[in-house]
């Protein structure tokens, strides 16, 4: 940074640029220009010397030209009128005998990004397309796309598009690839460049001449091509086979994706492809570049979702090395969990145990969770469920649910712990012996989830628990321990005494969630060991009702107090719910996902972020984009809660379960809707009860909240009343819906059509729809 303010610097540079002595000395002149660029890079506003820089562009020194053009591209949008002065020089350079100068001038001119420049660049671009130097043609081809972008959404120049299509046959490989890129950009509105059979075959034949970027690009464009026959399909696969072995990971991934998509209908081919990329992917996983290694690991995980055990024989490749960065280690641990089988379980667990005592607390905790085979991201969900309960005291019965059913979404990859419980519990118990706070808390949380899913390990867990309370300080760990003591207290001799310590210190307890958990646990333990607990339960209830400041805790205390007044049998009925649910793991365990469900996301950012994370990112992006147009939901909320508590939970849960994610603001045109509607068969038909009148706007807004768009709707009160709705999920699957109210009928008829037959998402979609309609029905009545 200069010592002087930017104004002084500009003044000084301006003087230097105008100085005829400096102008005469080529080296000094270039030095001054370099300084301008340097300040520009540092973020100083250098637009003040625009005029002088334009003058400096008239030079034979090509380096100076480059610098000046770089400067002009940066500031042209700020000084459009001055930039027009430079056009003259640029145009002259476009017909320079040196192709390097021609290319440079054309590239810079197209990058000026200011209004009104189009009319000047059109002719040079057209000349450039026919230039004899391929260097210039490359620039001109991309220039077409730049020009189109400048125009905004003006209509497409048909002649230009044709010219570009014909340039696909150019000698120069980069010109060919640039043509594809450019056409894609220009034809964005119409769905991009069209790959028909001659083009596809031409590209396939040119593949080996392209560099790695070109190959990856072409592979991506070929995704659009639908071979006419099986024979052609297999010819293409054969032709591209060698690219699965390319030395560039980008090309390998691109080829893999193309194979998976082309072989959509041939599951055995897909499996075969995945077997063949095993080697290259494993190589990428131990690549020197950490980032490429990370990306490859993310894709390995993706493949494992469909083919568990696919990499099992190579499990040792996923052992972490000391110096690897955190993000790679975490990915490797996740992969290891999914690879476990009877043969390698011993070695993998042994390895994971080593990680559990890693110096990095985060990594150690991740490894412990991995042994319990719980996914970390899911912990957030549990918390939010708990929070929901706190919100509404009237739904206190629901708390019982939340308090007992601890693990609504545990997702067990292969369930190391479920299949190999004994070994896992043993390792976890040994870890408790280390008496490290960060380890103990995670082990106890893992225990909590384990006994819920694998009741056979309860005995071992109960034996391991005594003594852990000394090493737990955080809220999550305390809650887990208290829950375990409450539910399985009859098997842990000193359970009442541990809880008593918590009761003694309840005043200094900072987390309300811990207090709530303590209330429930103590009441439960009171049922099985009344003599030891009665006194302290009284004290705790007194404290919670009389002294506690947190409303939710107080409410919970009052609720239990009143419940006790009703009688002990009622308490038992409500609190003594099942202590485990081994079926839950099986139920929630997602069946092996078909390859086709993620093939379209392969080799994009989606597997790198993780599908759930990607969904939130794209959701917030969607919200950012369409914020201003969204209906004011606040005014709506004032007229009464749109979706009652429990339904809201359900609606929110849906995206998290990964089953269905509706994309916000996916507005279809009425024409497109009609065409699609007519071409599809009804996938699902259903009748819901419906009485009386309602306001269509309410329904429309309610649907908007869950990302279902209304295409058309009859006026209120008309009979028959009809509405057409559309929604799209993150995989691109469209749901088209017709709602129909027949005159005199007290039913609403729902017909749903889907452009891809997928029952799971269809069912989730219908349940969302039902929820919304049910809610409207409730509000109305």
């Amino acid at each position: 940074m200069p010592y002087l303010g930017s104004e002084d610097v500009v003044k000084e540079l301006k003087k230097a640029l105008c100085n005829p002595h400096i102008q005469a000395d080529r080296l000094r002149y270039r030095n001054v220009i370099q300084r301008v660029i340097r300040y520009m890079t540092q973020g100083l506003d250098m637009s003040g010397v625009f005029m002088e820089m334009v003058k400096a562009s008239a030079t034979v020194d090509i380096v100076q030209k480059k610098l000046v053009y770089l400067y002009m591209c940066t500031y042209a949008p700020l000084k459009p009128d001055l930039a027009l002065l430079a056009i003259n020089t640029l145009c002259k350079d476009c017909s320079d005998p040196n192709p390097m100068v021609r290319g440079l001038a054309l590239r810079s001119m197209c990058s000026l990004r200011m209004p009104g420049v189009q009319e000047y660049i059109q002719q040079p671009i057209l000349n450039g397309l026919r230039d004899k130097a391929s260097y210039v043609r490359r620039v001109a081809v991309l220039g077409c796309a730049k020009m189109h972008n400048l125009h905004g959404d003006s209509e497409v120049d048909g002649a230009l598009v044709n010219e570009l299509y014909s340039l696909l046959r150019d000698q120069d490989p980069i010109v060919v690839v640039n043509c594809l890129r450019s056409l894609e950009e220009i034809l964005k509105q119409e769905g991009g460049v069209v790959i028909n059979k001659p083009i596809a075959h031409h590209l396939l034949n040119r593949m080996s001449k392209l560099d790695q970027w070109g190959q990856a690009e072409v592979l991506n464009f070929l995704l659009r091509y639908q071979p006419r026959s099986e024979e052609e399909l297999f010819d293409i696969l054969n032709l591209l086979d060698s690219f699965l072995k390319s030395s560039s990971p980008g090309v390998v991934m691109g080829a893999t994706k193309l194979f998976l998509i082309l072989a959509k209908m041939f599951p055995h081919v897909q499996t075969d492809v995945l077997v063949r990329v095993k080697g290259p992917l494993l190589a990428a996983c131990s690549s020197e570049s950490r980032e490429l290694c990370f990306v490859a690991l993310c894709h390995v995980r993706q493949i494992l979702h469909s083919l568990p055990g696919h990499f099992s024989s190579h499990y040792k490749k996923f052992f972490c090395s000391y110096s690897e960065p955190h993000y790679i280690k975490l990915q490797k641990v996740e992969v290891l969990c999914e690879l476990v089988n009877d043969e390698n379980v011993q070695q993998v667990l042994e390895e994971l145990r080593g990680y559990c005592t890693d110096v990095s607390a985060d990594f150690a905790q991740a490894a412990i969770f991995a042994i319990g085979a719980e996914k970390r991201e899911q912990r957030g969900d549990k918390k939010s469920l708990g929070d929901c309960c706190q919100v509404s005291p009237t739904k206190i019965l629901h708390c019982r649910c939340a308090a007992t059913k601890r693990v609504p979404h545990i997702w067990l990859p292969c369930g190391i712990a479920r299949t190999y419980t004994d070994q896992c519990v043993q390792i976890l118990t040994e870890l408790l012996g280390l008496r490290q706070e960060h380890i103990t808390t995670v082990v106890v949380q893992t225990f909590r989830d384990l006994v819920w899913l694998c009741p056979q390990c309860t005995e071992a867990v109960c034996q391991a628990l005594p003594g852990c309370e000394e090493n737990i300080q955080d809220s999550e760990g305390k809650q887990a321990l208290i829950w375990l003591l409450g539910v399985h207290g009859e098997r842990i001799p000193n359970a009442p005494y541990v809880l008593e310590d918590f009761v003694e210190n309840v005043k200094s307890e900072t987390f309300p969630a811990v207090k709530m958990e303590l209330l429930t646990a103590l009441l439960r333990l009171f049922l099985s060991r009344p003599a030891e607990c009665q006194d302290m339960l009284g004290r705790l209830l007194y404290y919670c009702i009389e002294e506690e400041k947190d409303m939710a805790v107080r409410d919970r205390g009052l609720f239990y107090y009143r419940l006790l007044l009703v009688g002990i049998d009622e308490v038992k009925r409500i609190l003594c719910s099942p202590k485990s649910d081994p079926t839950l793991g099986l139920l929630e365990d997602p069946a092996e996902r078909p390859v086709n469900s993620w093939a379209s996301d392969f080799n994009t950012l989606v597997p790198v972020y993780g599908k759930a994370h990607w969904a939130t990112i794209s959701k917030c992006q969607g919200a950012e984009r369409c914020d201003p147009e969204l209906p004011k939901t606040s005014s709506f909320a004032a007229s009464g809660p749109l979706i009652p508590e429990e339904n809201k939970e359900r609606v929110q849960e849906l995206p998290d379960s990964g089953a269905l994610m509706l994309v916000p603001n996916r507005q279809l045109t009425a024409d497109y809707f009609e065409k699609t509607w007519l071409s599809l068969k009804v996938a699902h038909q259903q009748v819901l009860p419906w009485r009386g009148e309602f306001h269509p706007d309410t329904l429309q807004m309610a649907l908007q909240v869950v990302n279902i768009q209304t295409i058309a709707m009859s006026r209120a009160g008309s009979r028959p009343w009809k509405a057409y709705l559309s929604a799209q999920d993150d995989t691109g699957c469209l749901f088209l819906t017709e709602l129909l109210l027949e005159p005199g009928n007290s039913e609403m008829q729902i017909s749903v059509k889907q452009n891809e037959a997928r029952t799971e998402t269809l069912n989730s979609f219908i349940s969302v729809l039902e929820t919304v309609i049910g809610t409207i029905e409730e509000i109305k009545s």
């Binding site: 890079t41 380096v63 560099d211 980008g250 991934m253 040792k316 490749k317 000391y322 790198v608």
Partner: protein
Amino acid sequence: MSASAVFILDVKGKPLISRNYKGDVAMSKIEHFMPLLVQREEEGALAPLLSHGQVHFLWIKHSNLYLVATTSKNANASLVYSFLYKTIEVFCEYFKELEEESIRDNFVIVYELLDELMDFGFPQTTDSKILQEYITQQSNKLETGKSRVPPTVTNAVSWRSEGIKYKKDEVFIDVIESVNLLVNANGSVLLSEIVGTIKLKVFLSGMPELRLGLNDRVLFELTGRSKNKSVELEDVKFHQCVRLSRFDNDRTISFIPPDGDFELMSYRLSTQVKPLIWIESVIEKFSHSRVEIMVKAKGQFKKQSVANGVEISVPVPSDADSPRFKTSVGSAKYVPERNVVIWSIKSFPGGKEYLMRAHFGLPSVEKEEVEGRPPIGVKFEIPYFTVSGIQVRYMKIIEKSGYQALPWVRYITQSGDYQLRTS
């Protein structure tokens, strides 16, 4: 792939160089990058992919620089990273070392290169050999508008220029195998693999056509010579110049080489081999007083071969002091900034066994934080030897002009990621 802009930032996140290719992401977005990176690092959730609103940052770190590509599209991550690495490679060929200093010193060339490497967010010419033909450090020569375009820019064979001339036509072939090893604290081998590369240094005139013959098992089986000693290569990858279709058909490796240095192919062998240098170690830590280290190294390769430049680095606690060493051969040195003792042995013949003892004092006051258990690392190089037994059987060189050219072959085995965990 499509990157909106590419940035080169210093360690503090200040842009040294920025190049806006597409103009669809505001350049000011880069200001969010560093805070985001720091925040994620604190959360322990750092990843090479960060997002802020609609912008994705794909970044890599090289010495004291961050290279960041921004995009708002659902881009192809591995391609973007490959591009960033390619950029580094190109810069390194220009300035030897890529760091903040060299970027500042050469920033005009950096801009020139960025201009050629990418246009509108798409990679263009990334071959440094070709770039060097028209972007040079001595570009001060006044060009009077008549300068020629280097032929490669418009060539059909994009990786080689026409009209190359050498007085003496030669090819040097280096067969390099590096051994990756991971051994558990209890002495069991967790992972052992060999990554081989064949590198060529080409000094040939004209447009020569080369054919390389290896003792490839698949080829031998094809031609019925399965009795000869052969090697099964896995996961073979070639430079762009190799005709892949021919390799697939009859396993012939034929190509027109680029000029100068390049990596022709790489392969991988996962057959278990005996670790070439085996280490046994006892690290005894007596709290508050001392650490005693005993390391035994054994060369488990042929007696005729010799490992050169062996370096065994043994971790020691960071608060250790007053080192004392005793070695049966070579010398030991304490490197406090890395918390290791490095035992170097200039030449280590196969079958030999050597011993090193080290003694360190420990302060009586123990420090709070727990330390990790870094592994013992080994570096070595064994010339005239390959673990796999791969051999270059022939290298045929055919050129229109019919000159005679000499191929030279050199074999070498070296350590890759060679780690033995300590307890």
